[in-house]
């Protein structure tokens, strides 16, 4: 680069000769040089900017293109990554409290057809109709030869069926992978599990959606991949449930009942160990709901949770318990039981005449309506209402199955005095057997409210509300023990397990008004073992009649109680309860160590 001097001698001399200031020349030259330098620097800076711009453009193009391909391409598992606890199935298993499978998934295939690809539609239709007897060959042929491009033929195939369809060899018959919900135990715990069906369906996969029971209640949880295939643990015990269902089915047949239900509940945690409702169904092939008929006649109807019945004398325990808790009576207080008791146009009668007076203990043991009505008259309607509300009889149960909110108790509109009197022995208001089991569990839990749950709990929940004092609850249990030992529920006496409980026989309301004479709901509700209650049990039979005697017997003592006793006899050892010799009965025997 040629550098022009700031003060070129020739120009300075000529300027001096002309008498001009030579510094002007220097300034001029300096300015020119600075301008030149500035131009050069700007050029360089502009070049850099251009390169930087190009770089940014390139980078953004790459990012954009990558985003575009990611958005447009099919998602794919990273091949190189190690597969850890990856998602196996789209729906988690359901297991019982000991980890035994109640619901799981099975990989299977669905069958669909693409008629345009078919070689011999006639033969395919005939062969398919031969493999699947429920398909109609003529309809299939019409579908295959018509204008349809695609049709589903079967949602689920067994491997044998799939092989048979494969052997037809028609390229227009295609299989799509399917995940199918399997309930390996068949009808066991059907009402709790509910069932599942297909949601949105595609060729390569289909959604499995819960349709009832816990499957519906926990649908989102079961399908959440974040759980990493962790199963849903229920509080049910498979072997107890199986024993309860077997005994209940036998009892229902023997007692000629049209329906039956049994609930066993842990009194400390509120876990439902067994919940059976008969008649039942197979959740693998859930039947369609009955259209236009009473839903309670359907096998889908969960009597234990959805069925609300007047539960009769089992409510007397609450009346007596509250009176004991308030200190209004002691077990030995004498109550006037002369009948019939007239209240306005109502007359309250006892099953038979129990004499002029009974102690509070005997009122419950012998199940006197008049005595209970007299006791509740001391308590008053308001306190009675509050007590029943605290026991949970005013709202649906908190059980986590989809049907629970429909088990809403039926309550009288106004809590008048006559309602107070009839409610004291369980008439005029309806609740589900599960309500009753929870209330008896509350008594067994020393008066602290128990909320039923279907999920496994390891520790009892904190902070249950106290409904009655522990002493009153213990006294009530001891009176109920006497009811079983020598009262209305003697058939429930299971050696070794000190059952305490109360029977209830309620006439069924006639939908045309009034009550039936010969249709009853027989209930046994209780806790065992009486000295340290661990489980509460409710057994309800719908329209039972026991015909071994000379005349048909319908009272709970002859129907529900023997069934409940057999259930306890079978399940208590399964629940790990040791039989215990009751104090006072074996006093003559003294163990001597030698």
């Amino acid at each position: 680069m040629i550098r022009t001097p700031l003060r070129p001698l020739a120009r300075i001399l000529s300027a001096r000769a002309k008498g001009e200031n030579p510094d002007a020349i220097e300034r001029e030259n300096l300015r020119l040089r600075h301008e030149e330098m500035r131009d050069r620097q700007r050029l360089r800076a502009e070049g850099r900017l251009l390169i930087l711009g190009l770089l940014f453009f390139g980078a953004f193009t790459v990012v954009g293109a990558r985003m575009g391909t990611l958005a447009a391409s099919e998602p794919m598992e990273p091949v190189a990554a190690a597969s850890g606890a990856s998602i196996l199935a789209q729906r988690a298993d359901i297991v019982d409290r000991k980890g035994r499978v109640l619901a799981t998934n099975l990989a299977t295939h669905s069958l669909y057809a693409q008629p345009p690809l078919m070689v011999d539609p006639d033969r395919a239709a005939l062969e398919l109709a031969r493999i699947f007897p429920d398909l109609d060959a003529d309809r299939l042929r019409a579908d295959f030869t018509g204008s349809r491009k695609f049709l589903w033929i079967k949602r689920r195939l067994s491997p044998e069926q799939m092989q048979a369809v494969h052997d037809i060899g028609d390229p227009g018959l295609l299989f799509g992978p399917r995940e199918m919900r399997l309930y390996p135990n068949g009808t066991l715990a059907a009402h709790v599990l509910g069932g599942a069906g297909f949601g949105r369906e595609g060729v390569t996969s289909a959604e499995v959606v819960g349709t009832a029971g816990v499957e519906k209640q926990f649908d989102t949880w079961l399908r959440d991949p974040a759980n990493g295939g962790r199963p849903l643990e229920l509080s049910l015990d498979l072997s107890v449930q199986a024993a309860v269902e077997a005994v209940l089915a036998g009892g229902m047949r023997l007692m000629n009942a049209k329906g039956a239900t049994a609930v066993i509940m842990d009194v400390r945690t509120g876990e439902v160990i067994s919940l059976a409702s008969l008649p039942d169904f197979d959740p693998n092939a859930r039947p369609a709901p009955l259209a236009g008929r009473d839903p309670s006649d359907s096998p889908l109807f969960n009597r234990a949770v959805q069925g609300v019945y007047e539960l009769g004398s089992t409510f007397k325990a609450f009346t007596v318990g509250q009176a004991l808790d308030l200190g209004l009576v002691s077990p030995e207080t004498l109550i006037d039981t002369r009948g019939p008791l007239k209240w306005g146009r109502f007359t309250i009668r006892d099953f038979r005449n129990y004499g002029p007076q009974l102690t509070v203990r005997e009122v419950l043991v012998k199940s006197s309506n008049i005595g209970t009505a007299r006791i509740v008259a001391m308590t008053g309607a308001e306190r009675q209402q509050a007590f029943l509300k605290a026991l949970g009889f005013f709202e649906p149960t908190s059980l986590e199955i989809a049907e629970a909110p429909t088990g809403r108790p039926l309550l009288p509109r106004k809590w008048s005095e006559i309602v107070m009197l009839t409610a004291s022995y369980g008439h005029g208001l309806s609740a589900s057997p599960l309500h009753l089991a929870a209330a008896y569990a509350t008594i067994g839990n020393g008066g602290v409210r128990v909320m039923p749950t279907i999920l496994r709990r390891t520790v009892p929940p904190e902070g249950g509300a106290r409904v009655m004092s522990a002493e009153a609850a213990a006294t009530l249990v001891s009176i109920m023990r006497e009811t079983v030992a020598h009262g209305t529920a003697t058939f429930a006496d299971v050696p070794g397990y000190a059952v305490a409980g109360k029977t209830g026989t309620a006439d069924k309301p006639d939908p045309r008004g009034g009550y039936y004479d010969d249709r009853v709901i027989a209930t046994f509700a209780g806790v065992f073992p009486a000295h340290d209650p661990a489980y509460s049990i409710v057994v309800t039979l719908d329209e039972p009649v026991e015909t071994s005697g000379t005349e048909p017997r319908r009272t709970a003592g002859w129907t529900a109680v023997p069934v409940a006793a057999e259930i306890i006899r079978r399940t208590a050892p399964l629940l790990g309860l040791r039989p215990e010799v009751e104090q006072g009965t074996g006093a003559g025997l003294i163990r001597v160590r030698n």
């Binding site: 998934n105 399997l182 390996p184 068949g186 072997s239 199986a242 024993a243 070794g496 006899r569 039989p579």
Partner: protein, 114 residues
Amino acid sequence: MRSLVLILTGFAVMGLAFWAYRENYRTQAALAETAALQRQIAELREALAIQRAEWAYLNRPERLRDLALLNFPRLGLVPIDAERFGRIDEVAYPRVDLPALHGIVDTAALEAGQ
């Protein structure tokens, strides 16, 4: 000197190209193997799930009950009841079969006699 550097650079480029080519194929082979293994894992897991389901199906209480009934003469299985419980001190010690004694000599008596 300059040409030597050029030749060496040329060789280095060729060597690197060969290395990159080999690495590329090795990576692809490893990926293919991983994919195959993962497919195998998935298949095994599916088989495991099916076997678990089958285990649950074969162990369903209804079937076990029928089998217990069917094999009652041989196994004598009955539902558990309260009488099956016992205390640990009720369990008898196993009978010890002592060897039979022959030619017993009462040493104490002998000593007393001496």
